[in-house]
């Protein structure tokens, strides 16, 4: 029984971390059809932002939940204004440009922080489930993911900003004919996507540590999740994270973490083979 509870928490944690690292990418891709190959580096920058802020005396919660998203969100807006906006509708060019940006950011952070792993310790203790101990931070990550997803849903569904974002995503020219300024919507969207990536990178920093090339580890998983999820940003991210997170964690539990990753990749290949449009290309089409 205790073991089942422990496993359930670990599965939820796997789902939550997948959803967290993917949702920024999903927003940027889903709304703007921009494939951001620097996504992993946005996560990495979020980690560094949190660590640097904490080391300079900022409260660790503030660093992770406020400083990191703001810093990376601003970086995102600058990137959109200086690079991405000239490349809309040119998918290959955006991929090349963001790939270049990703290399640049890795180089820059290596020059500043060195090629070593820095960390902050998980600021919560552990708790007991029957005979097992597990880190309370796990629950915190799950809670952050839940709050982030709920907040995105609420903004998209119930605010004027969310309405304008959805309308612009469906038909930017018609939105413009009604008085909406699409470039502004895109800049905000890109900034929000980057901010969420910064938040994810910061929240996961105490778990995995941060080093300049950590983005590579994140980026593959988040792309798999976004592609597996399909067109609907939220439902897609949630359903793909749920599927892949569960498979990953159960395989890890039964065998080893390495095999867990293999199972995740295998599941992704099978899924894309069966549902080329992703889960929401086939199910939950009406979802956000």
């Amino acid at each position: 029984m205790d073991l089942v509870a422990l496993l359930a928490i670990q599965v939820l944690y796997a789902i939550a971390s997948l959803a967290l690292i993917s949702v920024g990418l999903a927003i940027i891709f889903g709304m703007m059809r921009v494939i951001n190959l620097a996504h992993g580096e946005f996560l990495m920058l979020g980690g560094y932002a949190a660590i640097v802020a904490t080391n300079n005396g900022v409260n660790i919660w503030l660093s992770m939940l406020v400083v990191a998203p703001i810093v990376v969100g601003l970086i995102g807006v600058v990137v959109e204004r200086t690079i991405i906006r000239f490349l809309y509708g040119r998918m290959i060019d955006t991929m090349l440009a963001t790939w270049g940006l990703s290399l640049f950011l890795v180089g820059l952070t290596t020059a500043i922080f060195g090629n070593t792993t820095v960390g902050i310790s998980a600021p919560l203790g552990s708790f007991q489930i029957g005979a097992y101990r597990t880190s309370a931070y796990t629950l915190f990550v799950i809670a952050v993911a839940a709050v982030v997803l709920a907040a995105i849903f609420a903004v998209m569904r119930w605010t004027r900003l969310g309405l304008i974002a959805r309308g612009t995503m469906q038909n930017a020219n018609m939105a413009a004919a009604l008085g909406v300024n699409p470039p502004r919507v895109y800049a905000i969207t890109f900034g929000v996507g980057a901010a969420l990536s910064g938040l994810a990178g910061a929240v996961l920093a105490p778990v995995s540590g941060v080093f300049p090339t950590i983005g590579v580890a994140y980026v593959a998983k988040s792309f798999i999740t976004v592609i597996g999820g399909g067109a609907a940003i939220l439902t897609g991210t949630v359903s793909a994270s749920a599927l892949f997170g569960t498979i990953n964690q159960i395989a890890t539990f039964v065998t080893t973490p390495v095999f867990g990753e293999v199972a995740l990749l295998g599941a992704a290949i099978v899924l894309i083979r069966l549902l080329p449009q992703g889960i929401t290309g086939r199910f939950f089409r009406r979802g956000l």
Partner: protein, 235 residues
């Protein structure tokens, strides 16, 4: 004068479509535009809305020179657009489509939409449907209602009767006549349906090969030989 177009040139990429279009529209006027398929009627409306860059000429909207102004700014200045094919947001509900139409307005959305729905009672029962799930006729009514939510001074209306049954066409004619009386609307109407254009327009401009070549009165549309020359598929 509400709109003054002088020598407007535009096209798609390097392909020129309009080679110097000139005309003007007075406040409160309904102007019809008639021409064979592919003569550039839609292109003209897109250019007026700012979706195609002018390669020559000038467009004055009221006292503003809008020749190089972006579409969203033209919308905010009071240009309304109901495109050919309606371009309803397919994944938004009817009500949300109308809310998008309120983007230029400062006053409360609910009030604006309630007032517009009085003009389009048929939409009242459809508010929670998604736009993509409406019939062509319903989409046309929605596209016009959405445009009116922005309280435009000049409406560009592109082939509203395309693929629509006669009873709804009559409804559209009545609605537009009522709106003209009530809101003092000005309109540029592109149409192939001669009865429709004759019932609504005060002047009709003929567009041929990317220029306005003639102006006729609605009564002249009864003349069969004239009509064969200007509408339908070009021979």
């Amino acid at each position: 004068m509400m709109l003054d177009v002088q020598g407007l040139r535009t096209g798609y990429g390097r392909i020129p479509i309009l080679n110097g279009v000139s005309f003007s529209v007075n406040e409160g006027e309904f102007i019809g535009i008639l021409g064979h398929n592919g003569m550039g009627k839609t292109t003209l409306l897109k250019a007026l809305m700012g979706f195609l860059p002018a390669t020559g000429g000038r467009v004055m909207f009221g006292h503003d020179d809008v020749t190089t102004v972006e579409p969203y700014r033209r919308a905010r200045l009071g240009l309304g657009y109901v495109p050919q094919g309606r371009e309803i947001f397919p994944g938004l509900t009817v009500y949300e489509n109308l809310r998008m139409g309120c983007s230029t307005q400062d006053s409360a959305e609910e009030d604006i939409i309630a007032a517009v729905l009085e003009e389009f009672p048929r939409l009242k029962a459809l508010l929670d449907r998604t736009g993509g799930a409406l019939s062509g006729g319903e989409q046309q009514l929605l596209a016009m209602a959405r445009c009116l939510c922005g309280d435009p001074r000049l409406v560009l209306l592109d082939e509203p009767t395309e693929g629509i049954q006669p009873s709804i066409i009559d409804e559209i004619v009545e609605t537009l006549q009522r709106l003209r009386a009530k809101r003092g609307l000005t309109m540029i109407l592109v149409e192939q349906n001669l009865d429709f254009i004759a019932a609504l327009s005060q002047r009709i401009l003929i567009i041929q090969k990317g220029a306005i070549t003639r102006e006729v009165a609605p009564a002249e549309l009864g003349d069969a030989s004239l009509v064969g020359e200007f509408v339908g598929i070009a021979t």
